[in-house]
Subunit: 336 residues, 4 copies
């Protein structure tokens, strides 16, 4: 019989409001506590998703009803919360990225080495059924030896400029998702990374020294090559596609829409509706599946995945891409 | 705040095992009782989905925890259970068809006229999001004035011959679904029905005087025409499609699959996986939505739909199709 | 070495202007004569496609350079031209339909029995590569035993009312194409025909007692069933599709467009362009292939197909459909 | 009235046998001479496509019936033939690439500067209707400002190793096609090129120091980015796709097949046939269109395109890609 897992949600911002409703709706998860440094935010989250609010982290982590924590605070604070939760012996589900710098990422891994609580990083796209089906087909050898992997991730519209400023840059904020997905599908980590970056949609992003349109190339130890295609704007919704090409053929995933109809009018034929708007709509189920995988790992006593080391690798690759986009030089990611 | 609705499930056969898990999984429905004429069947259903078993209908209906009944007994017994439930003042959700003959169908409507409990007929395909989207597009005038409606329903493999014998014939058992759907989409009922029937897959079905491959044509008062394409066998799964064509264009629904990948190999390109196997897989959600619509109508005090009169009309049309397939004469359905 | 075939084109109307350019462009055909009862029309055709004009049929047929004739006169005059050409011993390519009544059709076959010149009827859709590929797949047993055949033919807009008046009615004018195609694919001729007809697009057509939207059902000796879906208007172009369904699967043909792009904008995704406008655009190649098949049959000494008997059968079926649409009774076509 | 253009075909190898039949079939082109350094090859080509053979270049070029030349000799000999033809004052159609090195490419341009005969380079893919439609849509602003261009070119199987040895390397031999196409669509030439190269299909190719799987990234002055995806093997045929993404949407071209059917069986649904095998099949029409554009430019007195300068640019970019794939450094192509 499945035991209900009591969770403390750390943070009350955008991602907390992604996880809150998923926790509330899961039959085997229960939101016990919401911690936020400002009480009003914690209270609002509890009003919506249940649990008791707190602005005291120690009190939150000391609650015996808290079986594990979900860290949904700003990315550049993950180290502190990982440290506190690990020291309190609580299993951790941490939203991606692990941290924004390699130093703080390594520090997080050090903490987890000293306090080896179960840890899972929220690369939720691994839990999307389409992405998982493509990986399964590749790993089962359906396309023979893997040659090319391609990932498209184009967002509907640029985020607010304040978000951009705190994001660590487009490669760290967004490309990191594709990077983790591609490494997971390929079953290996790249030995070389090249990237090109432009600002084509929102001049404010360029003024911040960031990009909103990038192409990233990965070369894997097997010599397979991967391409990532990222845009901060997409006129027709959230464009999410994968293509894996190998010695025996190709498998692809397609896009998702709410409206199922095919339309034929005077202007167009076989037309489909615009895509699901953004990640909340497109990956709604995968957040659920990710939390469920965390729960199942804790229940089964197995190590959750994606691991903290997956997070370190993804950041190292994203940082290499960012640097390559500035210098033009292909780089070997510094996984150390 | 939504109130939980206590349900008695009547029957413990195939359809009861369709509704049982849907009731158990619905947050606002509770299975209170399962009635079956043999206690062992009732017990098995309760073991799986909850509630107390009974082989006594009066006891079942007298249970104050039973707010409404779901009739999932054999089609040719619906009249008796409708009568008992209506006399007991319990709202009724009844699996389609209403009954297998017009006499017993009319008798059911008479009972409901005398005991006007809320009644909903389980034409669940109306609650499929794809079908509903196509109807909404038609009703919104997206394709102008409706000219042609086409419905494909091809089952993966012929049912057991015992099922065929008790089914009332292919038009009554299966085409009736398409008929209800098409009338609901068109917003009118046909004035003329033609049909052609063949036995092409299972000679046993032909030996019973029944068909396993039919084409039915409906003519509506607006002069719009409809075509139904039914097969008891389909090599690639449960083929379910709709096409609505009008003065300004066409809308179509497509098929559903579990496997989302598009495959390119040496043999084929852009290949999709086989279709969802059969109605349980394809219309899983629509059973849930149908029960939820029943619940919402009871809570809101509105008349549930599809109504008993919808059931009478669908049967009249299906009987006309069956007779037309034997005589070759187009018939006006006897809606009286 | 292929010998150039000298042709006389009889007629200078719409269909003559379809065949004229095809003859002129064919490397092994030469337009030697154009006959028309009014010289000006013949002259105009010769100006465009070559050859000498004449308003004297006897002179035209007596020209030793005329190896064969192409009859493109009004449908209700075919008998006279077939008679004259057959008596002159000239092989005949005759635009469909053979004639508009069974009496005149039988008379045409009698003439050809007495003067057995090679004769080919211009059901050009048999020569469309898509249609031919579907037939080949069916005949090769790809889909097992054939169960259902479906043909869509929806025209972009209603013809001028004068055309309608001389057309013999929608079934004779248009459905006859689908009928010939379906019989050719199935390899058999129906034993029963049902049809329903409406006027939904152009009230003038209804005022003439004709229909502009029809559904026709054919039952073949094998018990396979066929559906024809005909409309005189189609908002998105000339909708031409086939679907063959059997015990082992299904094959379909799709529509053709001039614009090859797939478009994704804010409104629609995976959108294709409108279809080729009408039969001249869609079946451009099949007119060429049909003439070439005629030429090859003459050169090879084989009997051209479709035969005059195919024309008789198609008309008998179309007439049965027309009558069935009036009486509601399924009919056995009178092939006698 | 169009004047017939008399052509001398230089070369009797693989590409000569591509151009020979296209010239023979074109109504306004005539093959007058075939030159080859070995008479037997010239004779064989003339036997197949017409014209008089010769192993004497001067005699060939002096023939007054020769209005222009088509150079289809090995790529590393183009300079000599361009020189001879230009000195003889003959307009030149030259198969791509212009030459294999920048030195010889520049020398070719010098020759053409001194002897300014009309010159066209055979980047035939510009003349493919699908590619041209995509360019037209981009240039018409259909997708707003261009952001990303992507080109897939995957060949069915690796060429013979002797071909590889003389090809100049994969970037020069094949990627150059995509490069020219992308520059032509974008209307600009890249300021930066990155590439990654692997040998994944044929170890012999790797042993020669060449690659059979590459990804190339271009950055244009407008900041638009482009990706080229090249493979020497493709299990399902010759995979040729383009995708252009901009601020207002996306346009794509799809693949071509000979078999038009969509198949639904027990294994797959909506399956299409394998792709056209290779460039001869896929670009059959574009060779014709390219020769016709050459003819039309000569007739109209306009400068043919693609120009020799387009050839120089494409080679410069391809060389930069090749070098970048070795050093990992993004490079500015040396257009000088």
């Amino acid at each position: 019989m499945t035991k209900t897992l009591g969770l403390a949600l750390l943070g009350a911002g955008r991602m907390a409001h992604v996880y809150g409703p998923k926790i509330a709706a899961h039959p085997d998860l229960r939101l016990v506590r919401v911690y936020n440094h400002r009480m009003a935010g914690a209270q609002a989250a509890c009003d919506a998703y249940g649990g008791s609010p707190s602005d005291d982290l120690a009190v939150t982590l000391a609650d015996p009803g808290v079986d594990a924590v979900v860290i949904a605070t700003p990315s550049n604070t993950h180290l502190e919360y990982i440290t506190a939760a690990a020291e309190a012996g609580k299993p951790i589900y941490c939203e991606k990225p692990l941290e924004l710098t390699m130093d703080r990422t390594r520090a997080s891994l050090d903490v987890l080495a000293r306090h080896p609580v179960p840890f899972m990083l929220g690369f939720n796209r691994r839990f999307d059924p389409d992405n998982a089906a493509l990986r399964a087909a590749v790993q089962a050898g359906e396309i023979g030896k893997l040659t090319f992997l391609m990932s498209w991730s184009r967002e509907p519209s640029p985020p607010p400029i304040d978000y951009v400023r705190g994001s660590g840059g487009y490669f760290i904020d967004a490309t990191i998702h594709d990077i983790d997905l591609l490494c997971w599908i390929a079953g290996e980590r790249p030995v070389e990374v090249q990237a090109a970056a432009s600002c084509l949609f929102d001049p404010q992003i360029g003024a911040e020294g960031d990009a909103d349109a990038t192409m990233t190339t990965l070369k894997f130890p097997s010599s397979a090559l991967a391409h990532v295609n990222n845009s901060r704007q997409c006129a027709y919704g959230f464009d999410q596609r994968l293509e894996a090409f190998g010695t025996r053929g190709m498998v692809q995933t397609g896009n998702h829409r709410d409206d199922p109809l095919v339309r034929w009018t005077g202007d167009v034929t076989e037309a489909r509706a615009p895509l699901k708007h953004f990640f909340l709509e497109r990956y709604d189920a995968s957040f659920h599946h990710a939390l469920d995988a965390f729960r199942a790992a804790l229940e089964g006593g197995t190590a959750p995945e994606p691991s903290a080391d997956d997070g370190r690798a993804a950041l190292a690759i994203a940082l290499a891409a960012a640097e390559s986009s500035r210098t033009g030089q292909a780089l070997r990611p510094d996984y150390g």
